[in-house]
Symmetry: C2
Subunit: 234 residues, 2 copies
DNA sequence: CCGGATCCGAATCGATACTG
DNA sequence: CAGTATCGATTCGGATCCGG
């Protein structure tokens, strides 16, 4: 199954031959969040045909991007190799770039825990966060619930729901079990307009783009400052 | 011709829907070097079927990545929009990432002027160059001849051969017509090992990976310091 | 339930030929 | 020069099935 070659001796070409096939980068996006089972990936990428998922995972292993790791208990997970993890800044930059062109969601567009987790990372501005007090947000979008813990220039996102049981607690090192969030935000897809700066936090509340379920409503401004993708992906 | 949707409301997904189709990123890579005619692209991407090239260009225009510009004289060129140009750091980073995995060229692998031009940019280390004297390299690889002018943290690459006549002189603003190069280097594909640091410049000469056609052989060290992609794409 | 493999119609891609 | 048209070869998508 030699990957279809583009017939050029070039780094870009080589990269695209490895991760440019359909679904490959989305698999990598989800694996950036953490190791995932075959079933997790299938669920997170609802529309990927199972044979394609299986084929891509094999190809990504051959390229040294992904590794297959049996679990002690039972089952197995796929995880990025160091080489694969080097794609993180690239995938995040692609996410910022694509974000600018996002319109409103289509009727069949889903939001998954992993895609939203990565989206938070794409929008995260460490240089802004570094100048603010630590903050702990709980964000609800569709049926996804995340907790974003911002401390200085570091962002930690924990998925609360849908309940994916932790695959291997040993790998979750450093992930705090968050206590109470400073604010619980329930948002719709229009949250995009807050992140882009098209709406101020207050306008977004007025237009019911998001809503404070509990906690300090003043945190909305801080959220909008911390998670922002301006023109040009800045 | 609705692009096949991945069914997710996510920036990465949106980006991949726009530039993830086969050949799209390579078209963009070539357009990063400058505006190109349909025929230029077809020549630079020898293996792209003409109907695919035509389809991609249409799609990239719809996405606002590429613009079609009629020339005053006759003919027309495709060029990146501002939005498309924002992909430059991403394509360069992908090139660095893929570079690490490059082996030796297959028998059908070609080196084109545009791919080599972009490759020089991927390997360029502005922070190193900033500490060195200005330098002017002429590089021959296969039948491609480039001139790379390094001045401080800036790199300017001019394509000398194959002779692509300048499409629109007005767009070439700021491109110097270089005088004599400090050194003329003829290299084979093994130059990859110099860029990766696997070979020192001297070893590369000894193994006939490259050769000084004329000029100052001492410039080889400077070239290797200026153009380098280390482990992890550093 | 997990981790796929198999089958088949639909869509895309690749190669070549052809045209304004 | 700048594409369209055509058509066989591949790949993708959707569904089903299977061994543990």
């Amino acid at each position: 199954m030699a990957a279809r070659s583009y017939g050029q001796y070039c780094g870009v070409t080589t990269a695209v031959e490895q991760v440019g096939e359909r679904w490959a980068l989305l698999i990598i996006r989800d694996l950036l969040v953490g190791p995932r089972r075959y079933t997790d990936l299938k669920q997170g990428l609802a529309k990927v045909p199972t044979n394609i998922l299986s084929t891509r995972l094999k190809e990504l292993q051959e390229s040294g991007v992904v590794r297959r790791v049996p679990l002690k208990n039972c089952g197995l997970v796929y995880e990025l190799t160091d080489y694969g993890r080097q794609l993180e800044p690239i995938v995040l930059a692609l996410g910022r770039w694509g974000f600018q062109q996002m319109g409103d969601p289509g009727p069949d567009d889903a939001v998954t825990a992993d895609s939203l987790t990565v989206a938070l990372h794409t929008a995260f501005r460490p240089e802004v966060a570094a100048g603010l007090e630590p903050a702990h947000y709980e964000l609800h979008v569709a049926d996804v619930v995340l907790r974003a813990v911002v401390d200085g220039a570091a962002l930690q996102v924990v998925q609360v729901a849908p309940a994916g049981r932790p695959v291997d607690p040993a790998r979750r090192v450093g992930v705090p079990v968050p206590g109470a969030a400073d604010v619980v935000i329930a948002a719709g897809p229009g949250i995009r307009r807050v992140v882009s700066g098209e709406l101020t936090p207050d306008e977004a509340v007025a237009q019911d783009v998001w809503r404070v379920v509990s906690g300090d409503a003043g945190m909305l401004d801080r959220f909008a400052a911390t998670f922002h993708i301006g023109p040009g992906g800045s």
